[in-house]
Symmetry: C2
Subunit: 448 residues, 2 copies
């Protein structure tokens, strides 16, 4: 295999064969293809894209670079959810125990905060003692016992993706729909799923702010999942404002526990139920979305969902008392209320600004080595379209000290705009399946 | 300077500032920017191109990475020629002494064979004893004494280009007009010239087979040269057949000596005179192209041009007797005549096939370490459009042994096509100056 010829071929708009992708990724993982050739090829892909057969072959090769979870003969179906990332997105924490308590196994493999977005692992680790570094064997054992494990990407899963992602991060080759799709799907398909639901965020706080690109990513991932034998559905959900009220690691765990009691903010409940219902329906654990939703609500009202969460926490070394007592979570030392500076209608609650402020407060990482402070963050109780009076409390800042409070207040002043004409965009704008965009938001019962 | 942001900026179609180019190349030359970032940037340039100010800044930075020749206060003007490379292209060997003997200094810095094309250095080294590895100081001293030196790219000249070229060669990023222009011009502008003439080859045997791309490269290099204070002119010349008759290192030296006696093949004489006349006119050593041509012809008929060549050979350690006795050159052990297999009109003499065959015969390199056999090659006495009889001798093969002869005969059978409708494309199709394409070929007195 002469690598420069492969690069030129892709550069000139031609497709590489599945065999070429497979040997390329194998040789790269073995360190026999230098990074400088791979990065040139990645940049050519940014411009030329990948044909479906190329994308499938690349993804297969990335999966084949490592180990995978295997659920052949498992007594219950297996499903997972992936989110492209946002601010206040604590859906995984609520959804995983909820779905597991409805008889679907959930091997929830998650990531850390990236840029301005939060990460499920960081949130979970704000529970004292909670470990996310399970091995594949530990995860598998726990799923057999509790129906759910919540872990980080293990070194065994798709190591080629790990190396490629690190290279893309420093060579300007992250923003490519097929490369994003291959990266996400190689990890998820290695989980041995019977069904996968994608939460593709769109709007100013998402990585793909352009909804046409978000739609293209959703379609690409669905095509890839289906072609690999994993039924896949995507919802496009709004990330032009934070999801729920709490933004920040421990604050989000507290809100997730409230949601598992059925008392979470309406938007968080809605997105979580919608995604979870798709999971149940996809793997045949419910005959349709309406019945799926009914069973999920029952799992919440009966307390089974919260109990499953408590057991998962205990199994992974955390203090399960947290589900009854939020004071178990580390608490911010400085808290201050933020009030509306004028009356009017909320026009914007900018999630990117809020996410950046959490990083500035110490609740996210600027470099990979940074440790994070789980206590800091925001609770924002208003959404675009809400009418507020001047001086009304509309948010709180949680910080380490008074200078953090000042920083947080300044961020809120920038993030929250009050004017005359705010309105809320639809929470779930598209539902995409292998057959296309097949249901308007109203059919899903989404508030808009 | 955050390199990934620079790469993204270029990827997204924006221009980098001159300061960014300058520090990027400086840091790269110092080994502080890794190859994997540079290759991603190079691929982005392949797709996005460079604006004129970016190209100028990149070229300046590449020049500044090393040393340069300086001719301030030199008693005569200084000019050089660059060819984009072809088969049978021995113009430099004829032109340099010819121009030097008309009172223009020629610091001819040349390259080695690349792919199917020959290189001036390899040709010169077929003269027993000839050294091309002059230092900048030696070259400068020789130019002061003889008006001409013929040398390889020294390590002092544009080291950034050397490193970038090696990286481009293995990352599919050679075929980019601005990158080609920056590479060529960084070396030529480091020669401290008063004028530069470009021989941009076009047709199946050229690197840029597409004449529109060749024209774009010519225009780009002219813009760059002029903006850097070096008057630059380009001729687009035909490389859909070999130039002259001899193809192969020692064979071409012999033909070049014949040309310096005024007895070279018509096409070789024509291209050489045209390029040389541009050099004289550019630097004001002749009032116009017609007078320039007259002086060049006089330098040939008087024997001064050949005498200059003999002195250069002697100064660089070679045996000057070669100009009177071709038997000084190493001779092929096996020679065989190739005859037309049918009568008709010559349709094609494919230079790329002939160039590849020279490499196969041992007269070029497959890897950088290969040593070459200067004796092997071809003499092809026909051009497209010529009428031939069946059985008429139309070429000769020069090889090491009979198996080489067989290989060479097979190559000629593929390279030379005889049919009904052959015709010769114009030898010089365009003359390009800073003002545009300003003279039709007829005005230059070119046979077509």
């Amino acid at each position: 295999m002469v690598i420069p010829r492969l690069i030129e071929h892709k550069r000139d708009g031609h497709a590489l064969t599945p065999e070429q992708w497979s040997s390329l990724i194998r040789e790269y993982t073995l360190g026999r293809v230098p990074d400088y050739q791979m990065s040139a090829l990645l940049m050519a892909i940014v411009f030329r894209g990948l044909e479906p057969a190329e994308l499938a072959a690349l993804t297969d090769a990335m999966i084949a670079s490592g180990d995978r979870l295997r659920f052949e003969g498992h007594p219950v179906p297996v499903a997972d959810k992936h989110s492209t990332g946002g601010v206040g997105d604590k859906v995984s924490l609520v959804l995983a125990p909820m779905v597991a308590s409805c008889g679907v196994a959930v091997p929830m493999m998650s990531g850390r905060g990236l840029g301005h977005t939060g990460g499920t692992l960081d949130k979970l680790e704000s529970i004292p003692g909670f470990r996310t570094d399970l091995s594949l064997r530990e995860a598998r054992d726990q799923i057999d016992r509790l129906g759910c494990a919540m872990l980080g990407q293990t070194p065994e899963i798709a190591p080629a993706d790990k190396r490629l992602y690190a290279l893309r991060d420093v060579t300007g080759t992250v923003e490519s729909v097929p490369l994003l799709a291959a990266s996400i799907m190689s990890k998820k398909l290695a989980e041995g799923l019977n069904g996968l639901v994608l939460d593709v965020k769109t709007g100013s706080g998402a990585f793909l702010t352009d909804s046409a690109l978000a739609l293209e990513l959703a379609r690409t991932m669905i095509g890839l999942g289906e072609s690999r034998g994993c039924p896949t559905v995507a919802l496009l959900t709004a990330m032009d404002r934070p999801l729920g009220r709490a933004c920040g690691n421990a604050l989000e765990v507290e809100e997730a526990i409230e949601a598992l009691r059925g008392r979470g903010p309406a938007d968080l409940m809605e997105v979580t139920y919608a995604l979870a219902a798709e999971m149940l329906a996809l793997v045949g654990a419910a005959p349709d979305l309406i019945e799926a939703r009914r069973r999920l609500e029952e799992a919440v009202t009966s307390g089974r969902a919260l109990e499953t969460f408590a057991r998962v926490i205990e199994a992974q070394g955390g203090n399960p008392a947290v589900v009854d007592d939020p004071a178990v979570l580390p608490q911010a030392r400085a808290v201050e209320v933020f009030r509306a500076e004028r009356g009017g209608r909320v026009e914007r609650v900018e999630p990117r600004r809020i996410g950046r402020a959490i990083v500035e407060l110490g609740g996210g990482r600027a470099t990979l080595e940074d440790s994070i402070d789980p206590t800091v963050g925001f609770v924002v109780t208003v959404k675009p379209g809400d009418v507020v009076r001047a001086g009304e409390p509309i948010a709180s800042v949680f910080a380490r000290d008074q200078s953090g409070v000042a920083l947080g207040m300044a961020a809120l002043r920038e993030a929250v705009t009050i004017g005359e004409h705010g309105r809320l965009t639809p929470l779930i704008s598209h539902r995409i399946t292998a057959r296309g965009v097949d249901a308007p938001p109203e059919a899903l019962g989404c508030p808009s």
